[in-house]
């Protein structure tokens, strides 16, 4: 693959070939039509060059048949590009449920990452081959963008909300991580690397650092110190405030009569702006935590609420944060 001038970047995720295939199709069509138009132009320009200064060619009015042909054919080709692009896009943006989750906080000009098991990384992300990884991302300041060319995917990292990005790495190696949304002075320095490892190596790497607190555990401490427990119960069982245990991932009825899916974004919003979407049956008594809590702490609280076991459903992060079993090594 590595010729003197490569035409495609390293391919290291399940998206790589899907995007490349569509890219080659688009390139082929582009090349075909550009060469066709150029060839016809050059032929006409030579064949019908002006031979005598006063020659007047016979006018041609036009042709509805031709107009129809060159409207419909490009339209059909365009629709194949549209359909194909949309199909791959859907797989890119539909996060799988069974993914390893990593929290990402972007700030001018660095990436802070934390694995569910507590390992923290700066400007580096270690991921295993063959397991789906989902990034839950937010920004402390301006808009950034998490871009890994070798994975053929990117997503904006937007302050004030969570965005997600998922991928499944296929080839071990070290790949570029770029910030792709202009974010101020040192934008081009907001780079790093994604290190794709064999699953066993990755598990070793995960267990290598000791004494780390998982985000969920840190969130539990915050839950006590910030006084959340006094209304929501020490284990989120509820009280003056709504129950938190086991609601994550389910739908909750709101005071307004609407329903909302309890996801990272909703939990975050309810901490920052509690009055925005009140749960049915509860009054607007919770104070805002806007400005009193950092994005890192918010991520920890969200992780804690996600980890709370409940009567039913819940569960994405409920399994103990031990290393996944080595039997996942099928590939």
């Amino acid at each position: 693959m590595q010729s003197w001038i490569p035409l495609v970047p390293d391919s290291a995720s399940t998206f790589s070939w899907q995007v490349d295939a569509l890219y080659f199709y688009l390139s082929g069509v582009t090349l075909f039509f550009s060469l066709l138009i150029s060839a016809v132009l050059i032929f006409f320009v030579i064949r019908y060059r002006r031979r005598t200064p006063y020659e007047i060619p016979r006018p041609i009015a036009g042709s509805h048949k031709l107009e129809t042909v060159w409207t419909i054919i490009p339209f059909i080709i365009a629709m194949t590009m549209f359909g194909w692009g949309a199909r791959v896009y859907f797989t890119q943006y539909k996060s799988p449920a069974d993914a390893i989750e990593v929290y990402v906080v972007g700030k001018q000009w660095m990436w802070k990452l934390q694995h569910a098991t507590g390992q923290r990384e700066i400007n580096q992300l270690h991921v295993p081959v063959g397991r789906k990884v989902k990034l839950i991302m937010t920004s402390e300041d301006v808009i950034h963008d998490f871009f890994v060319p070798a994975f053929r995917t990117k997503a904006d990292v937007v302050p004030g909300k969570y965005t997600t990005l998922w991928f499944e790495a296929t080839t071990p190696g070290t790949y570029h991580l770029f910030c792709a949304e202009y974010c101020g002075m040192n934008h081009s320095g907001m780079t790093g690397s994604v290190i794709v490892m064999e699953p066993r190596e990755f598990d070793n790497w995960l267990s290598g650092s000791t004494g780390t607190t998982t985000p969920a555990a840190a969130g539990q401490q915050l839950f006590q110190t910030l006084g959340c427990a006094s209304c929501h119960g020490a284990n989120g069982e509820g009280g003056r405030g709504p129950t938190l245990a086991g609601v994550f991932g389910s739908e909750t009825a709101l005071q307004s009569g609407e329903k909302v899916r309890v996801d990272e974004a909703y939990v975050r919003e309810s901490i920052i702006n509690p009055q925005a979407k009140l749960v049915a049956g509860f009054g607007p008594i919770m104070p805002t935590f806007q400005g009193q809590i950092s994005e890192d702490q918010l991520v920890q609280l969200v992780a804690f609420i996600k980890s709370l076991p409940g009567g039913g459903g819940g569960g994405g992060q409920a399994q103990a944060p031990t290393a996944p079993s080595p039997t996942q090594n099928q590939k």
Binding site: S38, Y48, R49, G62, L66, G85, A180
Partner: protein, 554 residues
């Protein structure tokens, strides 16, 4: 067959619009659309060279991977200011305010635009906006990118955001007034016999452009105001820390700025229609399709802004709709390219400079347009957005398209504007140099972009260097190519051969008056009895296939 020279050519009058009056005051207070066009020509050329200087600095910095030529903060200002100057102060006014101003009244047989005073006012507004923007650049510059994305621009940037915004805000009104003037002029000032479907396609395309200008520009004005409110008064609109939504800004910004792309390219398409027809002595193949495709582009152009937001966490379904509409808007452009090409069939093609620019335009615009499909295609755009692929794509449209059209038009109408001929040999040479330099600059950027080089990077990983070296080499050729016309146009104003009234032997109305024209354009109001691009009598028209001429007339 009617030989072209048999047109009744007026005696070259001693008094024309240039020498009718003398003195600075006669220019600064003129109401003549032709003089105002020249005022614009001078001012946009000034801005073009400032923007070009920034481009040169960008290319010098990117010659080597580390950021060694200037500091990051400086580099960020340089690319921001390159974009702002080129887009708002060169490309948007370029063809409409110079060639459009000069030619619309002449092409439809009018004495002037509908509102001559408003026309002058629009130039002063442009100038005021320009002066304020230049002040902002000199005072310290602006580093937000020409896109002013929030919350960086409202909360985090320590540069002259509001002053620059004010300059763009004011400049927008000049755009709106020009658009308004053109629309009213086309509706009310056509000479007897100049029906809508006898108008040159240049007029059609500027009519479509004007619609976009008056409908789109107010939106960017409002957006800049909201941005200023948040930056000055900390009203929470876009910054989430103040309770706003940063993505809202992008919706508002692109609602104008995507149609603005069509403000830049539609006039150029109009010029190309003129050049292709006139330098092949052939009526445009499918005139009404080319005319209506301009309107279709203007209308659909307002519905595709969301394709700039595919990676912002915009809804997947919204993304699909915007992707679909973006593919749809490509069709009218394709129709134009096919019709231009078909026009050349069995024609009589001259190799004069304007035609070389037109042929170059078709090639570059085809590449620019087709690479737009990559970015309309959702999954590929996810990989490509904010990379050099995007940079290459829009330069193919803006420089390969809009600028090539502008230069072609300037050469074509230069005899009419100045009364002098430019040196033809140098003209052809510059067209060739610009074409080669342009491709060498921007083709490598497509590859660099797919390989993942992000845009707006001051320093970059060494594996991208080969593409940047090629780009910089190309840019120096391109810059050299741009200097040649700048020199010979100025030279020709004094030393060029005197132009006849109709140096290209063409049927258009603007060629049926003296070069340069008198202040009132025509000695007597013309009565139009011929179709657009009627080189030979209509009854000789060849019928292709089952074509029915009555359909063509609508």
């Amino acid at each position: 067959m009617k030989p072209i020279e048999s047109f009744e050519l007026p005696e070259p009058p001693k008094v024309n619009y240039i020498n009718a009056q003398y003195g600075l005051k006669s220019w600064l207070l003129t109401k003549d659309h032709k003089r105002i066009a020249l005022l614009y020509l001078g001012s946009i050329t000034f801005f073009f060279f400032i923007g070009g200087l920034y481009a040169l600095m960008i290319r010098l910095e990117l010659l080597t991977p580390p950021g060694d030529f200037m500091q990051s903060a400086t580099y960020n200002k340089v690319f921001t200011q390159h974009g702002i100057i080129m887009i708002f102060f060169f490309l948007i006014p370029s063809i409409p305010a110079t060639l459009g101003n000069f030619l619309i009244p002449m092409m439809i047989g009018a004495k002037d635009l509908a509102f001559p005073r408003i026309n002058l006012l629009s130039w002063y507004i442009y100038l005021l906006g320009g002066v304020i923007t230049i002040y902002a650049l000199l005072a310290g510059g602006v580093d937000t990118g020409w896109t002013f994305y929030t919350p960086f621009s409202t909360t985090f940037s320590n540069s002259y955001v509001v002053a620059t915004g004010l300059g763009i805000f004011i400049n927008g009104f000049s755009s709106i007034l020009t658009g308004l003037n053109f629309i009213v002029t086309v509706h009310t000032m056509r000479a007897p016999g100049m029906t809508w479907f006898r108008m040159p396609l240049f007029v059609w395309s500027l009519y479509a452009t004007s619609l976009v200008m008056i409908l789109g520009t107010p939106v960017i004005a409002i957006t800049i105001l909201l941005l200023a409110f948040e930056r000055i008064a900390h009203v929470g609109i876009f910054d989430p820390a103040l309770g706003g939504d940063p993505i809202l800004f992008q919706h508002l910004f692109w609602f104008y700025s995507h149609p603005a792309v069509y403000i830049m390219i539609l006039p150029s398409m109009g010029v190309i229609s003129e050049l292709i027809a006139n330098f092949s002595r052939k009526n445009i193949f499918g005139y009404s399709f080319v005319a209506f495709s301009s309107l279709a582009i203007a209308v659909f152009g307002f519905l595709v802004w969301g394709h700039h937001l595919f990676v912002t966490s915009q809804s997947v379904y919204a993304g699909m709709i915007f992707s679909f509409l973006s593919f749809a808007v490509a069709i009218p452009s394709a129709i134009k390219v096919f019709n231009w090409t078909a026009t050349l069939y069995r024609s009589s093609i001259s190799y004069d400079t304007p035609m070389l620019f037109a042929l170059g335009f078709i090639g570059l615009f085809t590449v620019g347009g087709m690479t737009g499909l990559f970015l309309a295609s959702l999954a590929v755009d996810v990989h490509l957005s904010d990379t050099y692929f995007v940079v290459a794509h829009f330069h193919y449209i803006m420089v390969g398209g809009a600028l090539m059209g502008y230069l072609g038009g300037l050469h074509y109408w230069w005899p009419k504007i100045s009364g002098r001929m430019y040196p033809e040999g140098w003209g052809r040479f510059s067209a060739l140099v610009i074409f080669v330099g342009f491709n060498l600059t921007f083709l490598p950027q497509f590859v660099a972009g797919y390989l993942g080089m992000p845009r707006r990077y001051h320093a970059y990983p060494p594996e991208f260097q080969v593409f940047n070296v090629l780009s910089t080499a190309g840019a120096s050729i391109l810059g050299f190519g741009m200097l040649i016309p700048a020199i010979y146009f100025v030279w020709s104003m004094r030393y060029g051969r005197h132009a006849e009234a109709n140096p290209w032997h063409l049927p258009g109305l603007e060629w049926r008056t003296a070069s340069p024209p008198p202040t009132e354009n025509f000695e007597v109001t013309p009565i139009v009895t011929w179709e657009a691009y009627e080189f030979a009598p209509a009854e000789e028209t060849e019928v292709v296939g089952k074509f029915r001429p009555e359909l063509e007339r609508i």
